[in-house]
Symmetry: C2
Subunit: 224 residues, 2 copies
């Protein structure tokens, strides 16, 4: 089965919201993420329900059916593989790829995506650290906690970002916060959750609690 561009966008939106905030997914949440009016969302939900891609009960939100989730996962696979391609082969920076990948993910060709996967050596994570589903839709969850949950003097590796906006990623670049970077919490300011960090070989600097809550890290267990 093949779906329209708009249908695919909705499926992906529902999947993402469900992933973060659980199910059922509300009309307004979709409306906000997709920058459309709630009334338009309701219209589309009816269509998706007719096609059995979502379970929908009026006034009570939606969740993806098995088929819907399958399709959403496939889209995410495509999106993330294209992001890898753009960064690793074409030399884009990680803050530039999202918009382009949003277009590329709609290209219809299973062969294409499988070959792209092979061409990239079957990467398991995209340039933002997000896991890439395999052709069957399965993927490993990344082990992660929020940087904001780290305690004083704990060390950790940056493994992912919650925000994918250009401005946020550029901010990280300016502070040399790249995926894989090792960092240590040297101070936590209790009032607003700001955190002072030190990277492996640099001066300590401050990031806001706002930022700290957008960064996923894997804690380093001290083998002292």
């Amino acid at each position: 089965m093949t779906y329209t561009l708009a249908e695919e966008d909705y499926l992906k939106a529902i999947y993402k919201i469900a992933e973060r905030h659980g199910t059922p997914v509300s009309t307004s949440a979709i409306s906000e993420l997709m920058q459309t009016r709630p009334a338009s969302v309701t219209d589309m939900l009816k269509k998706l329900a007719d096609k059995e891609l979502i379970d929908y009960k009026r006034y009570h939100g939606v969740s993806l059916t098995r088929t819907g989730a399958r399709q959403a996962t496939l889209l995410i696979r495509k999106h993330r593989l294209w992001e890898c391609f753009l960064v690793e082969k074409l030399g884009f920076n990680w803050d530039e790829v999202h918009v382009i990948a949003e277009q590329l993910e709609h290209i219809q060709s299973d062969t294409l995506i499988d070959r792209l996967d092979d061409y990239l050596d079957n990467p398991k994570f995209d340039p933002h650290g997000d896991p890439i589903p395999d052709a069957s839709g399965a993927y490993r969850m990344r082990y992660q906690i929020l940087l904001s949950d780290l305690g004083l003097h704990q060390r950790a590796v940056l493994v992912g970002v919650r925000e994918h906006t250009s401005s946020f990623l550029q901010y990280l670049d300016q502070n040399h916060l790249a995926l894989g970077a090792t960092l240590e919490v040297v101070e936590v300011l209790p009032y607003d959750g700001s955190v002072r960090l030190r990277l492996s070989d640099g001066e300590p600097f401050l990031i806001s609690g706002q930022v700290a809550r957008q960064l996923f890290v894997r804690q380093i267990t001290e083998a002292t």
Copy 2:
């Protein structure tokens, strides 16, 4: 300026027809190439004329304006670069790439296409031998004549194909007629224009006049 998918498809169609059959381009020719009804074509022509992408006089066909031609050339550039990518990097056969490239050519990002161009080492011809316009829209015409116009005992190199259908390209593959192949005309059957060919190291075989008229060759000037 950015155009819709349908608008881009029409521009490309008009460009292609004008290239083969000259200008003005008729409604019915577009209708046939695009597999839509003439009435639909007329509707779209009005829109394209409003946007000054074509010159359109009712009942008298259309031709591209400077802007329209520029846009069409850009689409062709994108299409052909993606075809190169699919064949050279992802290992597709030349008969498989057209459909996928038709989708990829609509991806909107100038940076993307310029980087792809560099990544492929700025190819001048696509897998079917068609020239690839540069970022400014300029391209070299390939020197070519039709195989059907070769005389007896003349030798030539296959440089392009007129048909891009899968079945035609597969037929060529089966007969080892690849781009760059050197061939010699060993017999011409006057009745229907069939041609008996010999490739560099093979047995002579027959191709129909129909096929001979779909193949572009560059004649080899004998330096005897």
